[in-house]
Symmetry: none
């Protein structure tokens, strides 16, 4: 779409990741994006909107990739594994973005409380549907609450990703983590 829009988004991710949303100045983002301060307000309603746009932007990417990836696999097992791996891989590839999504977003009080992160729920629903389908296929323990399972899985993956992003000296490779995480979670829910 608009070239400047994307330039500003990219700059914001960089700046927010480095300084944190609250300590980052709109002027910093403008300078990083090589536009005037005022220009940002032609594309975004305000600073909060910039943060939210980063989120929506990324989630759109995540969602479409995740759907695509899931569709290429046959079995529930493979679908679930592919999903976990994708999540970790995407964050690995976009560490600055990951930092923003993980840390800054949660701190945007308005975001967490007022703004309904519909896209995030769509993301969770991808997992939940896999769980439900697995249960229907008789693969997963039928007594487990899919909602709880979903959150647990997401929490586990996300925590690992967060740690990995914040760690300076990486003490494990992300592929290994994905492998072990999948093994552990799958064993935990299968019948």
């Amino acid at each position: 779409m608009n070239e400047k829009y994307q330039k500003i988004i990219d700059a914001a991710i960089k700046v927010f990741a480095k300084k944190g949303f609250f300590h980052a100045k709109v002027a910093d983002v403008a300078k990083q994006a090589d536009v005037a301060d005022g220009t940002i307000y032609l594309y975004f309603k305000n600073k909060d909107d910039l943060l939210i746009s980063i989120f929506e932007n990324s989630m759109d990417n995540f969602l479409s990739q995740a759907k695509k990836t899931i569709d290429t696999k046959e079995s529930i097992k493979d679908k679930l594994k592919a999903f976990l791996t994708l999540h970790l891989t995407l964050l690995e590839k976009n560490q600055k973005l990951a930092t923003v999504l993980q840390l800054e977003l949660r701190s945007s009080h308005k975001f967490m409380t007022e703004y309904k992160a519909e896209k995030f729920f769509q993301y969770l629903r991808l997992i939940e549907e896999l769980i439900i389908e697995g249960q229907q296929q008789g693969l997963f323990k039928p007594n487990l609450n899919p909602h709880i399972v979903t959150r647990a899985i997401f929490g586990a993956v996300d925590e690992l990703a967060l740690e990995w992003v914040l760690m300076k000296k990486k003490s494990f490779v992300l592929e290994e983590a994905a492998e072990q995480l999948f093994q552990m979670l799958f064993e935990g829910i299968r019948l």
Copy 2:
């Protein structure tokens, strides 16, 4: 110990939970604590220090209770279950505190990057030691990296607690969640 110190901590938890750390004014905390603005600076170096003190304060509590609880149980399995249940129970009982720990703390850039959350690592180590001991006893899969397992467990529990705290209409009871979570995680790691 000091009566005013505690009064300010309690007030800060309340105010930070409601308004978010960044939007909360020191004056709000002072009013809530029924002390003068300046009094806060007799007990805390600055606003950040107040947030960090809440964390350290809570972690001390968490840690001592967790250790005590673990010691009352015999088997690794019971210890692990008791730990998970305690974590959820504590956060349930202190929802405002939970909000602060979960949301606001992460946003304090200084906290997440500069400040080494030693107490938090002690907390994680309690889990990790259980995992390692379980592996040595031949109970848990020996190939799993205890560090990864630990983070995954913590992430799962914490995400569940976070959701529960943020949800207005609770869609599940926390005891149920603890039960299912434990079942799932334990099955996932045992031999």
Copy 3:
């Protein structure tokens, strides 16, 4: 040069002279200059910088006028007399500025100790050069330390100017003071 820069300087002189540097609020200066508070920080680093800029600004004026005046006179005697008269005259014409230079500046601890008032020394050097030249021409007592003489002259003129500025009912005319001062100092140093 910049119109707002000068407007702020002028406002600051007025406000500092009236309330004193420490008791003057930046907001007072802004209101006097008819700009927003923040605008001041577009032109000056901080309140201290504003004070220092007033000094540098004035000294530049003083210096260039003093040099010009000195150059128009032939004899050392006339040069010296012109210099003293100019100093008193300038301060008389800019009483508010004089107050700031005399009183407020000295109180800016940073100014007197850290900041090297190079411009002020240039000003002193104008006198010192006259003294030295006078000694070389055999006009002035050769045994007098030019540095001490310079400071003594400056102190005498400045004290008189200070008193005159602070006095509400002027008990003498400045021209008379200039005349007498010159007579006294010149007689004191001539051979």
Copy 4:
């Protein structure tokens, strides 16, 4: 008189000289004097009063010593010389005090404008009386305005003292300065 009163005065001189009146905290003075903050208010009305008391205190000393010194000399010339020497000597012996008197006092806006520094005028009057007497004895130029002469003399001495106090590497000895200053001023006013 009271032992604590003096302890506080001494502490204040030290602290004010080091940090400057405005940047010095009452608590700093209290700590230096080894008393509680509140104690200071048993002896002084407020921070300003502390500064003024230092001034009055010192001026009392200066005045009595100056009177004594003058009385020991016979001729006007000797009296005047003794006076100048005493002024410089006293400041040399009490450099911290000198700093406070010279710099900080002037910045106390209230002091310079509202408070009538009666003691200071008594000090000046000692000089003025010598001048007048000298004129009556036919020693000094009769056309010079004694008031102007007095201020000029005071300004010259004081400026020299100020420079000497502020200089880190002393470029002249104070005795030399006193000698030259006297020679120059005396020659300047004598018939």
